[in-house]
Every structure is written in structure tokens, then in C-alpha cells.
């Protein structure tokens, strides 16, 4: 479903994982997200890894979103473990939530019900939380990527009052 509309859109990928930070795990889900993005013609301009935790996620998202127009996809930290605080960290920085995108991502498979991921906007960046498994992350992103260009364009074009 290569949609030519996605070309020209830029994206950043944030992997939230204690294991990847510690070097005990490879960042396979970050790579899975990059693969979905590049196969849709989206240009991946940055990738970062942070440890789990609300403050880590919030700080990373703030710096990734600063002066950036496009898509920021996170992977990891959306479950029920005590260190799973990606949605909480994301909410700290979100200006407006986009529950429709979060729900559409949850519907991709039965395990989606266990993802607490959120979606929304920070400045002119659209943030999506996806789960930590490579398959889950790729499926969730694929479920909404067709509407991403439209959303990003609206964030830039819509008249705003500063």
C-alpha cells in the first residue's frame, strides 16, 4: 500500500528500552519501525534510545520534537510492567491527544488491548506510541501510516495564533 503521499514526510524513531540501553538487547523494534517508514517513502532523520521511565521519555520527546515537523514514533514501555511508563511520559509533553490514532493501532491484533499507548501532537510533530515487540510496533504503525501525511500537513497549514 505504498502511498506516494508519504514521500517528503520526515520521521524520528525513539526506542524506550532498559535492555537496549544496557546493551543486553538489540533494538529490533526500532529497526522494524524504520523498515515500515522507509518502505512508505518516509525519510527517517533521527533515531534515539532511552531507558524506560516517565521522565526519560518526556525529555527525549521534548528534544526530538523541538523545531521538528513530522512524525515521531516510539516503541516500548506501553505495557503493564512497573517500568512501562512511555504513555505517562508522552502525556507530559503532548499538547493535544489523538485518541482515534491510538485506538486504531490497538485494533490491529488481540494483544493490542494490552497496549496503553497514546497518540497526539507536540508543536508540529505527531507522536505515536507503539509496543515494544518488533511485530507489534510494525503492525501498529502500518495501521495508521496512511493518514499521517494528512495530519502532518494540517498541523503546518492550519492557521494558528501564536
Amino acid at each position: 500500500m505504498a502511498d506516494h503521499d508519504t514521500t517528503g514526510i520526515e520521521a524520528k524513531v525513539l526506542t524506550v528500552s532498559d535492555g537496549v540501553i544496557a546493551g543486553t538487547r538489540e533494538d529490533k523494534s526500532g529497526v522494524a519501525l524504520v523498515t515500515v517508514l522507509t518502505s512508505h517513502g518516509v525519510t527517517v532523520v533521527d533515531r534515539q534510545v532511552v531507558a524506560d521511565g516517565r521522565d526519560n521519555v518526556a525529555a527525549a520527546l521534548r528534544s526530538l520534537a523541538e523545531g521538528f515537523t513530522g512524525l515521531i514514533v516510539t516503541t516500548g514501555g506501553t505495557g503493564f510492567g512497573p517500568r512501562d511508563q512511555t504513555p505517562e511520559g508522552t502525556r507530559v509533553v503532548l499538547e493535544r491527544e489523538a485518541p482515534g490514532l491510538a485506538e486504531a493501532m490497538r485494533l490491529v491484533n488481540p494483544l493490542g488491548r494490552l497496549s496503553r499507548g497514546v497518540a497526539g501532537t507536540v508543536g508540529s510533530a505527531l507522536v505515536l506510541n507503539t509496543p515494544g515487540s518488533p511485530k507489534g510496533a510494525a503492525e501498529c504503525l502500518a495501521a495508521v501510516i496512511d493518514v499521517v501525511p494528512h495530519a502532518v500537513r494540517l498541523m503546518v497549514d492550519a492557521p494558528t495564533i501564536h
Binding site: K12, V13, T15, D18, G19, V20, I21, A22, G23, T24, E26, D27, G30, V31, V34, T35, T38, S39, T43, V44, V45, D46, R47, Q48, V49, A51, D52, G53, D55, N56, A59, P82, R83
Partner: protein, 353 residues
């Protein structure tokens, strides 16, 4: 700076785009790659499929090999992007340049020539003798910035030295009674932990160990129940002697000229050291001209006198003509504080808050 002429279908924007992705891939392995360089790679197949690679932990595969493995048979006829020149020597792994030739890659785009004397252009030569088309220098400025510590280590034979100082607005790091925790806020301290995690060794003076008894671990990067094993916690180095019971233990005690200490650390695979203070150690590194990057965390706090502890101990410049002058590399707000990154002789631009 292109080593060979661009091919007929050479497309600058396409090369820039994929090299930028390779740089992004490299940034994910900044903490686990040292003492190897943190390199990113991308393989773009003839059909347009894109595969990723990044340096594994020491002993694992290099970035180019990771991307080639991901591409498998599709690597034949592909373009490979690598932020750093593929290696040409047998280290813990075989030479990447030969693997690239063997995989049937048609074109290789390299960001930087590897400054390591063991490579230094030999990888490019090997690729060229294999008949591959080569472009060098794409994204070179961003990659030189990303690999700055590695370049210092390989070209100067000493670790890249970062000096961190948390201080009041009037440049004081401790009150007259010795209290210093905390002048800066949690965001600045968390950023300090990031610096520690990026560093392979942390240097602190014996006086600071006695006064503050710091552990110098990377608490923000530690997960409950997860034991980091890829060097997230830096080697702790005390200039002088630390008590056996100090929280900094286990630590390496060093004495003698700083240049010798640094050479010893470089040989032990320390690519970047973070100098954490206190004022005596900061003064010694500064006076010796051994600081590659100064990171100041300044809080909107004023001691308001000259009896609080200054950032640097010892005699400083005695006349204006002798003051040290550097350049601001970046200025960033962190919570209620400001981070100033300053480099020697750097006309680099200031990024606004």
C-alpha cells in the same frame, strides 16, 4: 571531497537521505560500541528495499556486516552507506571491506575516512580494487561531530576529555561550609548522568570523594532488576587515594602527570573521560589544556560573595591578555537551569535555547 567521480545516476539528495539514516542508526549504539567507533550503515537494494545496521557490542559484528546480513542475497548490486570507512584489518572480526566486496555490493558511500592508523584509507583502497564505485564525504560534518570522541582517541592517543561543572550563576560550586548538593535541578543532573553513560571513565579528585562521597554511577540508566553489562557504568578513576569504604569503589587510583594518566586510560580502551571535579582537578585539567569540551550547568542561584568555592582552584590568568577564550557550541535550557557547552578555539554556531 568525493574520492571518485559521481556516477551518472548520482543523486545528492538520495545519498544525503540514506546517510542521515545511517547516522541515526549509529546514534542508537553510542553507549555500547566503545572502544569501537559507533557506526551506522544502510543497504539500499536495487529494488529500493532498505536494511539497517549498527555496531554491536565489542566482539560482535560491525555496522556494515549487520546491514549486509539483514539484506542477505539482496545485497548483490546494492548501495551500501556507512558513516565510517569500512575496516580493512583483522581485529576481533574480519575486515568489513572484503565482506562488502564478497557480497557483490555495487556502490559504497562513506561518510568519513577512518582516522585509526590501522585503517586510514586502506578500506577504501580495498573496495576500489574490488571494482566498486566509491563516494566519500557524504554527511561528513555531522559524522565528525557524532564521532568526535573517537576521532580524538585515535588521532591524539588520549581519551576525549569532557569537563562537567554544576555551578551557581556567580560561578560557585560549593558553599563555604562545603555543602554542594544540589545547586542545579533534576533535569541538569539527569543530563549529567547521560554524560557519564557516554563516557568510559569518570575522573574525580580524592578531595571530592572525601567531601561528597559520590558513587558516580549512572543511576538514571539503571533499571530495576536489569544488570547493565556493556559498560553503561563508567570506570571510576580517583586522582589520589580513596578510602576502601568510599561509595566510589571499586575505583582505579591514579597519580602522576595527567598526560600519563590519560595515556594509560586510552590504552585501556577509554575513548571518553568525564572529569567530574572538584575544583582542584578541574583546575589541573584546564591549566594543562587537556579539556576538549566544557559542560557548564548554571543554576539561577547566587552565593553573593567571594567565600564560596570557585569552579577552578589554584592560580588563574593574572592579566586579561592571558585569559582562556573558547566558543559556545550550544546553549540549552534544562528545567530551571542552563547548559553551556564550550569548546576551545571553536567558532561554531550557538543554538538558541
Amino acid at each position: 571531497m568525493s574520492a571518485s567521480g559521481p556516477g551518472p545516476e548520482f543523486d545528492h539528495s538520495r545519498d544525503d537521505r540514506f546517510m542521515r539514516l545511517a547516522v541515526a542508526n549509529a546514534s542508537t549504539v553510542r553507549l555500547l560500541a566503545p572502544p569501537n567507533p559507533w557506526v551506522g550503515a544502510v543497504v539500499v537494494t536495487a529494488q529500493g528495499d532498505v536494511f539497517q545496521g549498527a555496531t554491536s557490542a565489542p566482539g560482535g559484528s560491525h555496522a556494515e556486516i549487520g546491514a549486509l546480513r539483514a539484506a542477505g542475497e539482496l545485497a548483490r548490486g546494492s548501495t551500501l552507506y556507512s558513516t565510517l570507512e569500512p575496516c580493512s584489518h583483522h581485529g576481533r572480526t574480519g575486515p568489513c571491506a572484503q565482506a562488502i566486496v564478497d557480497a557483490g555490493v555495487a556502490r559504497v558511500v562513506v561518510g568519513l575516512i577512518d582516522p585509526d592508523p590501522q585503517v586510514a584509507g586502506r578500506g577504501i583502497a580495498l573496495l576500489r580494487s574490488g571494482g566498486l564505485e566509491i563516494s566519500v564525504g557524504v554527511g561528513a560534518a555531522a559524522i565528525a561531530e557524532q564521532l568526535r570522541a573517537y576521532i580524538t582517541h585515535r588521532t591524539l592517543g588520549r581519551p576525549h576529555v569532557v569537563l562537567k561543572l554544576g555551578a551557581s550563576l556567580d560561578g560557585r560550586i560549593a558553599a563555604p561550609d562545603g555543602t554542594s548538593q544540589w545547586i542545579t535541578g533534576p533535569e541538569a543532573r539527569a543530563d549529567g548522568h547521560r554524560l557519564r553513560a557516554e563516557s568510559d571513565a569518570v575522573v574525580v579528585g580524592a578531595g571530592t570523594v572525601r567531601a561528597d562521597n559520590p558513587s558516580l554511577t549512572v543511576s538514571d540508566f539503571h533499571a530495576a532488576g536489569e544488570v547493565p553489562d556493556a559498560g553503561v557504568d563508567p570506570l571510576r578513576v580517583v586522582l589520589g587515594r580513596a578510602d576502601a569504604g568510599a561509595r566510589v569503589q571499586p575505583a582505579r587510583s591514579c597519580s602522576g602527570p595527567l598526560a600519563d594518566v590519560l595515556a594509560e586510560l586510552a590504552a585501556a580502551g577509554v575513548v571518553q573521560v568525564l572529569v567530574e571535579g572538584g575544583a582542584t582537578v578541574a583546575g589541573r585539567f584546564h591549566a594543562a589544556g587537556l579539556v576538549d569540551e566544557y559542560v557548564f550547568y548554571l543554576a539561577p542561584v547566587i552565593f553573593g560573595g567571594d567565600d564560596a568555592r570557585a569552579m577552578f582552584a589554584g592560580a588563574g590568568a593574572s592579566t586579561l591578555a592571558e585569559v582562556w577564550r573558547g566558543g559556545f557550541h550550544s546553549v540549552t535550557r534544562l528545567g530551571g537551569d542552563v547548559r553551556l557547552v564550550v569548546r576551545p578555539h571553536d567558532a561554531g554556531s550557538v543554538r538558541a535555547c
